[in-house]
Symmetry: C2
Subunit: 208 residues, 2 copies
Amino acid sequence: MFLCDIGNTSYHFLRDEKDFKEDVSSFDPALIKEKIYYICVNKKIKYILKDLENWIDLSKKIDMSKYYETMGIDRIVASRAVTDGVIVDAGSAITVDVVKNGKFIGGFIYPGQRAMSKTYKDISPALDYEFNFDIDLNTLPKNSIDAISYGFLKTLHNEVISYNMPIVLTGGDAKEFQKIFIDARVDENLIFCGMKNIITLFEKKLAL
Amino acid sequence: MFLCDIGNTSYHFLRDEKDFKEDVSSFDPALIKEKIYYICVNKKIKYILKDLENWIDLSKKIDMSKYYETMGIDRIVASRAVTDGVIVDAGSAITVDVVKNGKFIGGFIYPGQRAMSKTYKDISPALDYEFNFDIDLNTLPKNSIDAISYGFLKTLHNEVISYNMPIVLTGGDAKEFQKIFIDARVDENLIFCGMKNIITLFEKKLAL
């Protein structure tokens, strides 16, 4: 099975359990001649792929009524990789989605670490620090670095652990966030797992 | 007693329980001839006031060892207005400080609503919404406006109520935040209450 998750900067492929990336600005998708399933948040690339018959848009195979209209396709597909749990996708934004008995319950969006760091810096140059992921979240801070790190991390942490469910971390900053979600499982290919589950279900329906 | 809290944009005065504001760019502090106690986070104004003998810098009367070096004077003084409680000062940043038995325990800094709104917008134009302060914080969102409102408000709410202490709201956005901290007391002149407590203590010591 050949899969591709297309973002704003890169094509992320998975073939035979091996993943690799190509740049959206330089890679020509017409070079791929095999059947490939994809999801895409990049409008320009989506337009190009419409004319390539071997590129199959997985978003067309999903019952969208279970989600909401403006929900990102990457969140929807990741939520299909989990039966019971909280998915924390830590990238430019941090999306937190809860799935119970295979059903999407709801989710929220929190700023990612680079965005949030810029926010503090813009509020005051005195708050221009990198976040301390090794912070003790059980003690109220008494210095500026920890005061912003706690503000960013503890608040998110409280909410995510409040569901008392297994936590799955994915996205570019997953490993960093494991420092505060110590029991979480990191799965950088969670999106591909969700894609496979959708394809399996779709092929089962076709076989009926 | 004549008091003044000086920020980056305005002088905030309190005389005989009446408060009023003057613009930092146009007001001349030398016009005031009476004895006046002040705190100031504005470096330029601080420099001007040094030469005016009737302007008394309250930050010089505080035992700073109970706080931390880079902690804002406004947070320190506000924490002197409360014996037991959580102070939520909602302005360009939201500072949250915990006081127990009159002692500062610690605190954290969270972005204010305008800063956070800009953060979401900068992450994606699809997240360019005003926050919904009427959101139900007990239900996980299923639309974009609530997904960011919950991300901003629920996470902060969880942490603040976790202390199980009385909540005092102050700062320019205090009234808006009362929608999510429904049991909180709003005190827009909390800083003046802290200033008075410091002056009383200081005058008591002088009288001994």
